[in-house]
């Protein structure tokens, strides 16, 4: 069962279209997944694998990257992967045909929200068990699902965070070492001054001593 579908621009993670979850009655709190999906879209870039499945507990995200657009679906983990990717491919073809050229120019979120109508229709054909059987047979060799990379959503989302943490640590370190350097310099100068002062006192005492007692 596809619970959530989202189409976003990879360059900046701007959502282009999405399908409303029709599943509110089941009481599942999709809000959390929704925000994860949004974060994920922002994390993805040209270097990310083109097709990937991300596990998120009992759910999994599946996405397809094509022509700078990310097609993302959230399903139960047990839902056949083959179907999901078939579904996403389907969306991809249609979306690219309808709006592909305009993707780079839009600035408003959900500019192609009307694509939702198509998403819902497609979703229905994939979910419908009778239709599914037919589709399944057609798509058997379409997807070599085994080769699709599997990763954990948390890892993907946190990868960026770890890097940024490293970055902050490194910059902390460098600033600390700078501070140490300046502190050391300061200490050096201070000790030099102290030495000079001590010498001066000694000589003055000596002169005084010579001046008053020697003569």
């Amino acid at each position: 069962m596809v619970l959530l579908t989202m189409i976003a621009r990879v360059a900046d993670g701007l959502p282009l279209a999405a399908s409303m979850q029709e599943d509110e009655q089941s009481g599942r709190d999709l809000q959390h997944y929704q925000s994860q999906a949004k974060q994920l879209c922002r994390k993805l870039n040209a270097q990310s694998p083109n097709r990937c499945t991300l596990e998120a507990g009992v759910m999994s995200f599946h996405y397809v990257l094509e022509h700078g657009v990310c097609y993302l679906a959230l399903c139960e983990a047990v839902f056949p992967k083959r179907l999901v990717f078939g579904y996403l491919e389907d969306l991809q073809t249609e979306f690219h045909e309808q709006h592909g050229k305009k993707v780079s120019t839009v600035s408003r979120p959900y500019s192609f929200i009307e694509f939702d109508t198509y998403i819902q229709k497609t979703k229905k054909t994939y979910i419908d068990s009778r239709a599914r059987r037919n589709l399944g047979s057609i798509n058997t060799e379409l997807q070599d699902v085994q080769r699709i990379m599997v990763a954990n959503i948390e890892e993907v989302l946190q990868r960026g965070e770890a890097l940024s943490a490293l970055d902050t640590k490194a910059s902390n370190l460098s600033s600390l070492s700078k501070k140490y350097r300046s502190d050391a310099k300061y200490l050096n100068t201070r000790s030099t001054y102290a030495k000079i002062a001590a010498g001066a006192v000694f000589f003055i005492t000596l002169i005084v001593y010579v001046r008053f007692w020697w003569i």
């Binding site: 989202m6 979850q21 009655q25 709190d29 809000q31 408003r108 959900y110």
Partner: protein, 1084 residues
């Protein structure tokens, strides 16, 4: 937005709902104890019996002439700082340029000494003229230069006795309420006092409010006096001394000018004469500015404060002159709002045109960009510095909003980052200050924020480095396209669900035809895009769903008879895509009216139908339109009749204003949580318990429409009204899943909200749907002293999803000055806003406490504020009921409220009518509420193109607004009363036959049918004018007011006359009696 925090709040019982009237028991007594402290309730006796306006009352004290004492003390507090010191020339200009009349109006005075009825006021200015040069009072008395008029005294007496006294007695029989004694007592004595009042206060604000001047003068320009030649004006100002000489030549020129206004006067005066001093009220309109103008030239001093004294002294002389002087500046709406008006003497309080809201005293550049008063209005345009000051003023502090109003132009900003204050999240607005190029200071919390890099670039001028030129900083009202951070879920599509009552009673009324026909006609005009969804549910004792799945040959009806535990018979295709299934939908709409033609089912299960609707829409959110024709009798939410028809007219307290069950409220809160709004159309002839049913709309931010006695055949006017309203309803703009937040400057806090919505957190209103016809009101208090603040700001931000699936934020910002003196607060009072806010508060009060409580509270509100004005602002005590000019309509409006359907007692009022009126008072925007409270009366048998408006190549005549009193009706005329949702055209028995034939197309009076609702389209100038005027009135509001043509025999005459609020009815006071009552309380 999350649904979780909803459920926690919704689950609870009554009190937790932030909306509930119960939430804020103090609602009605907001600004302090004063409100309720003044509990001396209405004496029923007083209300019943005629007020004893005996001579004793008048002669005893109040009207004794009082020696003129300078009241300049009251003035120094005024914010005059902004005005440059006034040189003679400068001072002349504002009034001059603004009103052409003054110049012309004065001269005639000189020219017309004889006791023509018109002259009594005209002398006044003339006297001032004469007096001006010498400066001091005594000299002015002695030297009225070129006047044809002898000593002062005689003139004064002469006037009072001759024109006004004579007329009253002539027809006093007709007007029962006010005995003639009054006139005698009042006339001779009154003038000095009231004049006094006028002059001392009047002159000063006049000087000090230059900004308001042009604004308020406009009405005067349109006034019926034939526009005086502009050449006249330059003459009067010719500096002080020559003044006297200058005027005589002018006299003849403009002599004709002042007389026309009299024209409407005479007939009315003959009919009723409660106030002999009536005409002066408007005839003197333009004099004061002029007097002021005259004043300045002689003033050598540049210190503005020094102006009042000479003026006043000067007027002390003419004080004895004429009673009419008192009304001198009244109608001209002199720029000052503080001029004292003696309400007991001045009758003509209504301005010539619409009542204009006061302009806040802000620097010109800020005021220019301030939010439009139709969108955002404050009861006090000058905010008091402290709560104690506010308590002293005894005026309610609040805002009235019309946030989603249809606007002709609205700047829309698309930007990836919306600049907001980091701590209070205020949107950047025109009233922030830029400390330098890169930092701005929030005007609400005063935090200093950085200007983001993007904001430095101005897309309009394509320049860099001018953040203050950005549209966000140039417009007080604008709309942002929200970035994705403002969406918790993808924007929802437009979803419409129609829920129809198809029980026997409903089919009988024949409303199904109209609804289906309207839908068929407007199906392409429904706001939405390709995702728009639509669904239908009908119900009687069972619930019927319609499967409209694509591919079906015809709609499939699914009946669910288990109304105890309602379920959806099929998971999808009950709500279908409108574009894809249009054929099926049209099919269904065509067959629906016949489908239930022979039904015998009388029961009606509204509750379960609403539950089904909620289930159907909960996944997406959207709009449910419920059409209901009787009391729900089955399943949850069944109601019993609570109205006792015999109690309708009782003066005792009205019962059953609160809901009988909380089912509807709870369901509405669930709906609100799922972004579902329920609009209720109630078409019924019997009691339907709107008080209970209305909750479903109230808490889900829907709207309520009520068509009493709806029937296809018996009530064609109602059908037409319903049709027009439906069309507007179906095609108007709509916003989904909206929230509104109102922020205000630090120190102010909002404590009560009025309108249809659910308060989700302290200041966040949840509006599943928002429509352009919804108004809101809030009450505020001052928590921290606003010391050392020049101004405060208010910002309303409405985040919504348009029907095209765009998330948008509409932001309105208003800035108001802070003042620290009572007189400034009074000067900035907005009487209409105050009235509307009080009405909303009174509705809450009558639900939580009782109707009589609410009525008392309203009366006390006017008493308290006038008392406060009298004791705190006026430095000398004068007789009479004194009010600042800006509040002069306050008692009238309060009386109108007391006689409004919602609050009236003693007159037979159906409970549903009453409750509906209450809903409207809370939910309608200010402009429409004001018409409901105080209808506008126009004389239309003599419409001319003079002063007409030109709107898109149509000429729309602008008759002046008449007082709502039978005395204003004359039998040889035709009068149009615009009461907001209904327009009456009253035809006098001896109405001009020309009007009957040319406008109504009828041969004579007897041929006027009793139920005429249309003006025939005749090809005559009169007909065109009248229709243009009626059409123009209708265009100004979203809903469709029916026109009733009535004559003496019409059944509707009673409701027409009930709107004559200045008159006495069996159970309610006349305006004058009400004033006396207030005066008694005030002077206690």
């Amino acid at each position: 937005m999350s649904n979780t925090d909803f459920s926690s709040q919704n689950g609870a019982g009554g009190p937790p709902y932030a909306n509930g009237p119960s939430q804020n028991p103090v609602a009605l007594q907001p600004p302090g104890p004063g409100y309720m402290a003044h509990q001396t309730p209405y004496n029923p006796m007083q209300a019943k019996g005629p007020m004893p306006p005996g001579p004793g009352l008048y002669n005893s004290g109040p009207y004794q002439p009082i020696p003129p004492v300078s009241s300049n003390q009251a003035l120094p507090g005024q914010p005059m700082l902004k005005r440059p010191p006034m040189g003679p020339q400068h001072s002349m200009t504002p009034p001059q340029s603004a009103s052409p009349n003054p110049g012309s109006r004065i001269p005639p005075a000189h020219a017309t000494p004889p006791p023509v009825s018109a002259n009594n006021y005209q002398h006044a200015p003339a006297w001032q003229y004469g007096g001006t040069p010498p400066m001091g009072a005594p000299p002015s008395m002695g030297a009225p230069p070129p006047m044809a008029m002898p000593p002062l005294r005689p003139v004064g007496n002469h006037m009072t006795s001759s024109p006004s006294l004579a007329t009253p007695q002539a027809s006093s029989a007709e007007y029962r309420a006010t005995p003639p004694v009054f006139h005698n007592a009042m006339q001779p004595l009154g003038p000095p006092t009231s004049l006094q009042g006028y002059t001392q206060q009047g002159s000063a604000p006049l000087l000090m409010n230059p900004m308001a001047a042009p604004h308020s003068y406009q009405p005067v320009m349109r006034a019926p006096y034939g526009g005086p030649p502009p050449s006249v004006r330059p003459t009067p100002p010719t500096t002080g001394p020559p003044m006297g000489n200058a005027s005589p030549p002018l006299g003849p020129k403009t002599d004709a000018g002042p007389l026309p206004p009299q024209q409407p006067g005479p007939p009315t005066r003959h009919m009723g004469l409660s106030y002999p001093s009536l005409p002066p009220g408007y005839q003197n309109t333009s004099a004061p500015p002029n007097a002021a103008t005259m004043q300045h030239p002689v003033q050598p001093s540049t210190q503005p404060y020094s102006h009042p004294p000479p003026y006043q002294q000067l007027s002390a002389g003419p004080a004895q002159l004429s009673p009419s002087l008192s009304g001198l500046s009244l109608q001209s709406q002199t720029p000052e709002a503080l001029r004292v008006v003696n309400l007991l003497q001045e009758r003509n309080l209504l301005p010539l045109g619409p009542v204009t809201p006061p302009t806040p005293c802000l620097p010109q550049d800020l005021q220019k960009i301030n939010c439009h008063p139709e969108v955002f209005r404050s009861t006090l345009t000058s905010i008091p510095q402290t709560q104690s000051l506010l308590n002293k003023a005894k005026l309610p502090l609040g805002l009235l909003l019309h946030p989603f109003k249809d606007l002709s132009q609205l700047p829309v900003v698309t930007s990836s980052t919306i600049v907001r204050c980091r701590s209070c999240r205020t949107y950047i607005n025109p009233f922030v200050t830029f400390l330098d190029q890169r930092r701005w200071k929030c005007n609400l919390c005063y935090r200093v924020n950085d200007v983001p890099e993007e904001f430095m670039y101005n897309p309009v001028s394509r320049s860099y480095g001018e953040p203050h030129k950005r549209p966000e900083v140039q417009n007080a009202t604008l709309e942002f396209i929200a970035p994705s951070e403002y969406m918790l879920r993808p924007p929802q599509p437009a979803v419409y669900l129609i829920v129809l009552d198809v029980s026997h009673n409903a089919v009988e009324t024949g409303y199904l035809d109209v609804v289906c026909q309207s839908l068929l006609e407007n199906i392409n005009a429904l706001p939405g895009d390709s995702r728009t969804k639509i669904g239908f549910i009908t119900f009687d004792s069972t619930i019927h769903f319609y499967n409209l799945q694509e591919g079906l040959s015809q709609p499939q009806m699914l009946i669910v008879s288990d109304i105890e535990d309602i379920f959806l018979p099929t998971p999808d295709s009950l709500l279908v895509n409108l574009n894809e299934c249009k054929e099926l939908v049209q099919d269904l709409l065509r067959s629906l009216p016949q489908m239930f033609g022979k039904t015998m089912e009388t029961q009606c299960a509204l509750g379960p139908a609403l539950q089904a609707a909620f289930k159907l829409l909960s996944a997406t959110g959207g709009r449910v339109s419920v059409f209901q024709t009787q009391l729900p009798s089955l399943g949850v939410g069944a109601l019993k009749s609570r109205e006792d028809p015999n109690q309708r007219a009782s003066a005792k307290d009205i019962q059953h204003l609160s809901p009988a069950t909380d089912f509807y409220k709870k369901l509405a809160l669930d709906c609100s949580g799922q972004q579902v709004a329920v609009d209720l159309f109630l078409l019924s002839s019997q009691y339907c318990d709107l008080a209970s049913l209305g909750c479903i709309s109230r808490y889900s931010a829907g709207s309520v429409y009520y068509y009493p006695s709806y029937h296809q055949q018996h009530n064609p006017a109602g059908v037409e009204c319903f049709q027009k309203d439906l069309k507007r309803y179906l095609t108007r703009k709509i916003g989904f899943e909206a929230v509104m937040r109102i922020r205000c400057s630090k120190g102010l806090s909002i404590h009560t909200f009025h309108g249809n919505f659910f308060v989700r957190s302290t200041d966040l209103l949840s509006l599943p749907n928002v429509n352009p016809d919804a108004g809101f009101a809030v009450q505020m208090s001052i928590e921290e002293n606003l010391v050392d603040m020049q101004s405060v700001s208010f910002q309303a931000a409405l985040l919504y999803t348009s029907s095209k699936g765009e998330r948008r934020i509409r932001v309105h910002t208003m800035c108001l000055p802070v003042v620290n003196s009572l007189s400034d607060i009074f000067a900035g009072a907005d009487v209409q806003a105050i009235t509307c806010l009080l009405a909303s508060m009174a509705v809450d009060r009558s639900v939580t406490a009782s109707l009589s409580d609410a009525r008392d509270a309203m009366t006390n509100a006017s008493i308290d504020s006038l008392t406060s004005f009298r004791t705190s602002v006026l430095t000398i005590q004068q007789p009479g009921l004194l009010a600042p000019a800006c509040l002069r309509l306050f008692p009238l409006y309060i009386l109108a409220l007391l006689k409004q359907k919602a609050f009236r007692t003693g007159t037979s009022t159906r409970l549903d009518d009453r409750v509906f009126a209450m809903c409207q008072l809370k939910y309608q925007p200010l402009a429409y509420v004001m018409l409901m409270i105080h209808p506008a009366l126009y004389r239309v048998d003599d419409l001319t193109d003079e002063g007409a408006l030109n709107v898109s190549e149509r000429t729309i005549p602008q008759p002046r607004v008449q007082q709502l009193s039978v005395e204003k009706l004359s039998r040889d005329g035709a009068f149009l009363m615009d009461a907001g949702s209904v327009i009456y055209l009253w035809i006098g028995r001896n109405c001009n036959p020309n009007f009957l034939t040319q406008v109504l197309g009828l041969p004579n009076y007897a041929a006027v049918p009793l139920n005429m609702n249309m003006l025939p389209e005749l090809d005559t100038a009169e007909s065109q004018r009248t229709r243009a005027f009626v059409g123009w009135l209708r265009e100004q509001r979203p809903f469709f007011p029916i026109l009733h043509v009535i004559r003496d025999e019409s059944p509707l005459k009673a409701s027409f006359l009930q709107n004559m609020i200045e008159d006495r009815t069996e159970s309610a006071l006349s305006y004058y009696e009400f004033l006396l009552h207030i005066q008694q309380q005030v002077s206690k």
